[in-house]
Amino acid sequence: MVELLQKRLRSPSELESRRQSIVQKRDPNRLCITVCAGTGCRASGAEAVIEAFKDEIERREIQLDVELKETGCPGFCERGPLVVIRPKRIFYQRVKPEDIPEIISETVLNGTIIDRLLYVDPATNEKIVYEPDVPFYKKQTQNILGANSAIDPTQIDDYIAIGGYSALSKVLFHMSSEEVVAEIKRSGLRGRGGGGFPTGRKWESCLHAEGDVKYVICNADEGDPGSFQDRAILEGNPHSVVEGMIIGAYAIGSHQGYIYVRNEYPMAVRHARIAIEEAMDYGLLGKDILGSGFDFTVSISRGGGAFVCGESSALMASLEGKIGEPKAKYVHMSEKGLWDKPSLLNNVKTWANVPLIINKGAEWYSQIGTAGSKGTMIFALVGKINNTGLVEVPMGITLREMIYDIGGGIPGGKKFKAVQTGGPSGGCIPEQYLDTPVDFDELTKLGSMMGSGGMIVMDEDTCMVDVAKYFVNFLEGESCGKCVPCREGLHRMGEILSDITRGQAGMEDLDLLEDLAGTLRDGSLCALGTTAANPVLTTLRYFRDEYVAHIEQKRCPAGVCRELIQYSIDPEKCEGCLRCLRACPTEAVSGEKRKPHTIDQSKCIKCGACFDVCKFGAVIKR
């Protein structure tokens, strides 16, 4: 009980002295092994690496000399598991549990570098030793993500040590609500969830909305397939979001907040819960925060598995225990939102930007980015790209720089074809626009949008009709079904695109697709419907020749659409190993040992198993 009382911080000066005592207790020269423990790296085996470290450290009894820290995601997912040895920040990538004994004996205890675990820059063939020199990170501006690799997200002390909650302290004791709103407005911050609405204006209308009860909501229902930035932030630095929300609550006069996390992010839910508990213990959340007299609590709500619940009115319906049906927003959510009360809803990334703006000031923040889009944006760079992962860059960087300088270009020497931004609401951008700066308005001009920051790179082996079909099918499954244009229209679009990919469509179907797109755009109830046609419209605009090839020649130029491709065996390359014969589920492959095999097209179901197992590249897909 005594300990608990001592934990609670009752004033800004107590926060500062706590911060100083934490920092002083930490020896900056003490060896610290940080391992990324985000979900992405876990999928690559980070758990085993962490266990191996724990075992080895215990075995050698060096717990007092070496600290092991499980951190959040720094973004270089392609090269996980990632191990960084501080304070020098020696960077090891693709680490396996077998490497640990050597890492301990060589690098930790002896200070020698293990060459084979270093990152090799493919452009120069140079081995990079230190984390800040890795080109992937060097070209980024990790104002927000940077903290992820330095802190253990389940330890509030780590967050405080790097300056956490100082923005909150400043706001509560040195700024009025109006001043906070003005600062956010001056910074030029725009919503990072997809809409790009000026955040300051949203906060202002909430502040001026009538009523004593107001709500603050964090939208962590990241549903865009291919996006996982919100997850990385909520898993890796949940306190930054909590701090942002408290500041927002103070700005508009709210005392209750919700973090709505999608069901499929259990680790984010867990870490957010821990962060809230710790903040409550420290008096940074709950009643009389830091002795300021301001009360605010946050609850976590899990989504039920519906992409549409990322839409603000559907999210609020779900928070009320109802189905996630959006409703018309002729009266804004900032006036009548959750339970018909003024509600301030922002995305995870938007909240994470708030403490930064308060600490460093709106002037500093507005220097970064372009005239219309300030600050940095975190993108999920995925698909046919060498450096898959999260990328934080100032707005205004070109697509070319993102894909080639940071992303490392297309693997396998393949040719770039398109980059899809904005998820299912966005569009595909072809090569001729690669020098477009990444900016809310520039991307909208091209028919796409910034969205939540998903950036999917496609190469010559991607069929753009298949991509359009993929997004339409996705949205069809996620449509709530309330309004006719979206429910019926997406279904029909899916039917037409399916026909096209099977070579069963006519040219009039392209007109029909455009008509449907118009109906969806003008008639849908919510943004899911109104933007649903974007992938189709942009692929039609920039890749019409592919559609025409599917329809008129019954051919898929990229070799993807199953009904339009053919598998055959090149007799020159075939070694007659019988592997494909055995793999074929319909016995379509015939041949004898050491003689070239053949595929009976009438039996072939185009599953691609033969293509997968052939070690000699003898199976041709056309």
């Binding site: 996620e478 079904g481 309330k482 429910r487 039917e495 008639g523």
Partner: protein, 238 residues
């Protein structure tokens, strides 16, 4: 004094009296005066002959839903126009509404084509679609009768207070159902027939036992089919 149209043929002069809270708006170029707190559709409905706004999921007895989107109209905001649902959009002073522009007609055409393709045998839809030049939808024809306007559900919930039926599943698999697809509706339903009364297409009708028969599911869906099998099996056991 203000000149307002009270129906398509009659224009009158009305005096503004002190304390009056009327709202003045323009519908298809005609000045109209209405009480505040109404939606565009309510104003159109109370001024016979003014404005052309079809609406399938609307009924004055229940709260507007905005699902069919046929009531979409264009409103002018400065130099730009915007599409809004007339059944939900609240009127305000100086609002300029256009209910019958080319873009609006094209949208309604698109929606009706989709609806007709879903329910090609519903006479009311055939007539309405014909009005907008839609006779042969360019899609594969379905065989449903329910347009998912939700009026039956809302009537049962708001007027009767029983909530015996609800909208289940989502997307194209959405349908009206009783809990666990028990078509007998033994729980909650009092056999009042309100749902049948408000149904615009006749998809719900009264069965021989006085209880409503809900529209059957036509789109195959593994779980739905299994539930239907279970419900029928349970019914036949009794």
């Amino acid at each position: 004094m203000a000149k307002v149209w009270i129906n398509a043929q009659t224009q009158v002069e009305v005096a503004d009296y002190p304390g009056m809270r009327a709202v003045h708006l323009t519908i298809d170029g005609k000045n109209v005066r209405a009480l505040p707190g109404q939606t565009i559709l309510e104003v159109v409905n109370s001024h016979p002959g003014i404005g052309n706004v079809p609406a399938l999921c609307y009924h004055p007895a229940v709260k507007p839903y905005g699902a069919c989107r046929l009531c979409t109209v264009e409103i002018e905001e400065g130099t730009r126009s915007r599409f809004v649902a007339a059944c939900l959009y609240p009127i305000r002073e100086g609002l300029v509404v256009k209910t019958d522009t080319e873009r609006v007609r094209k949208l309604r055409q698109g929606i009706l084509e989709l609806l007709l393709a879903r329910c090609p045998n519903v006479k009311m839809l055939q007539d309405l679609a014909k009005e907008y030049g839609v006779e042969q939808p360019r899609y594969a024809l379905g065989d449903q009768a329910c347009i998912l306007c939700g009026l039956c559900v809302r009537a049962c919930q708001e007027i009767i207070g029983r909530s015996a039926i609800s909208l289940v599943n989502r997307g194209i698999y959405r349908e009206i159902a009783a809990p666990f697809y028990a078509y007998e509706l033994s729980e909650g339903c009092i056999g009042c027939g309100d749902c049948v009364y408000v149904c615009p297409t006749g998809a719900i009708y009264l069965g021989p036992d006085g209880k409503p028969v809900l529209p059957k599911v036509k789109i195959p869906y593994p779980e739905v089919e299994a539930m239907m099998r279970e419900a029928t099996a349970a019914a036949s056991r009794r």
